[in-house]
């Protein structure tokens, strides 16, 4: 019997070796596999090449992994954020290599890897310094640049629900990089809020069929969806608990005042 559910998050990431290429899902906070990243921090692998849209926030998760000197190279589209000080420091001090890729080319290269396309032509970035010296070609009078597929050894993905066969559903815009990354890694590890019975997921609504998934690890409900039902007024946009709560009638809080918002300057 197929059972991709692993007992613990430690076990899920145990075999990621030094020097591995690791895709990490998420766009900003949404879809970030927070528990898997924390487990990777504990696990100790270093010299990693990380493929992720952003380069971490604050002092946790991917930012912490960078702070600890475990990331040798970042392949991403938007490392600059208000609270990405650990990436900034490592980059400025030359402790970390950066490959900057426009977001659409990044995800299409990931999708190509998963779909067995070794390279494709794209219009994005033609004539910019990101593709200086790159191979270009005209089709129907427009210029395009040839870009290669982007593979990884491991993908760390945040799903919402999954079954033991590895069928995964996501929640809202947290879907973002999950489905393409799940196809592009040799080993795909998905954390989910809940593991459900086989047959409980609508077969018409499975963005990541089990064929792409190697391991599923349940991490419990998100703070804002206890028991699988969304509850407002509990967290801010970064998923952090509101300190003072909110009066739902007034709809105001001072909990996040003065904090770096993490919501600006991302492009």
């Amino acid at each position: 019997m197929i059972d991709k559910v692993v007992a613990s998050i430690e076990e899920a990431v145990a075999d990621i070796p030094d020097g591995a290429h690791v895709m990490i899902g998420g766009f900003g906070r949404a879809g970030q596999p927070v528990q898997l990243i924390d487990a990777l921090i504990e696990q100790g692998a270093s010299g990693l090449t990380v493929i992720s849209n952003n380069a971490g926030n604050g002092d946790v998760g991917l930012a912490r992994l960078i702070q600890l000197g475990r990331v040798a190279k970042m392949i991403c589209s938007f490392p600059r954020q208000n609270d990405s000080w650990h990436f900034d420091a490592a980059y400025r001090e030359g402790r970390l290599e950066l490959e900057l890729v426009p977001q659409g080319n990044l995800v299409e290269r990931i999708r190509a890897a998963g779909a067995g396309i070794p390279a494709f032509y794209t219009p994005t970035g033609v004539g910019t310094l990101l593709y200086e010296g790159a191979e270009t070609r005209e089709f129907d009078g427009r210029e395009y640049v040839l870009v290669p597929a982007l593979h990884a050894d491991f993908a760390l993905v945040q799903g919402y629900r999954a079954d033991r066969l590895g069928n995964v559903q996501y929640r809202k815009t947290a879907r973002n990089f999950g489905p393409p990354m799940a196809t592009a890694a040799r080993t795909t590890i998905v954390q989910v809020d809940e593991v459900v019975e086989v047959g409980a997921l609508d077969p018409e609504a499975i963005p990541t069929p089990g064929i792409f998934v190697d391991r599923v690890v349940p991490v419990g409900w998100r703070d804002w969806t206890p028991g699988g039902v969304y509850v407002g007024g509990l967290v801010d946009v970064n998923g952090e608990a509101l300190e003072q709560g909110i009066d739902p009638l007034v709809g105001e809080t001072k909990a996040t005042e003065g904090k770096p918002s993490g919501t600006e300057g991302t492009r």
Binding site: F27, G28, R29, A30, G31, S77, F78, P79, R80, F87, R92, L98, L100, P102, Q103, G104, N105, V107, E108, I110, R111, T122, P123, T124, G125, G127, T128, L129, L130, Y170, R171, K172, T173, A174, R175, N176, F177, G178, P179, P180, P207, R222, W224, Y230, G232, G233, V235, D236, V237, G239, I246, P248, G251, E252, T253, G262, T263, E264, T266, R267
Partner: protein
Amino acid sequence: MATRISRGEVAARLAADIPDGAYVNLGIGAPTLVADHVPPDREIILHTENGMLRMGPAPDPAHVDPDIINAGKQATTELPGSSYFHQAESFGMMRGGHLDYCVLGGFEVSATGDLANWSTGEPGSIPAVGGAMDLARGAKQVYVMMDLLTKDGRPKLVQRCDYPLTSKGTVARVYTDYGVFAVTPEGFAVLDTYGDTTIAELEIMLGIALIDGRNP
């Protein structure tokens, strides 16, 4: 003295030019203001490149859902008729020419429609591009919304961009606090001015020749 309008007024001016039924991506920052000025008789479908169509307005703080964010990583909402999809599908929509309009901020726009909006090229700055190059190349109509001048008075409409390019020759129009400009094969054409601003005044501000493209 040329007449200057507020950012909200620029947003309203731009929103008035977007037709009913259009699919639109609003870049982060000032362009998001356009959503607040869509005329009430028009239905505009907003695309956010992190994976959603028919994005709604910002939620009140008591209804923030961290799983529903926009490209600026701010909380947003879904509406009846919204749909979610992954990043490859979302950027396929852009690259494949399915978006009718995108509205981007800009550092510079050249007379040939080049856009610079992702890097000032300053040494030591952290480079970051996100989806800007995809949007600037992918949408059917690329509109830029920006101030006409920098804070220290330099023109942002230029003959040739000094900053690193985001895209080459893809900008159709520029909506600014001093006027609306179209990129034409002959250079910038002025589509609209405010108050009693003359084209001659704008030419002096910018230091380049302009075409009169206003409706008579």
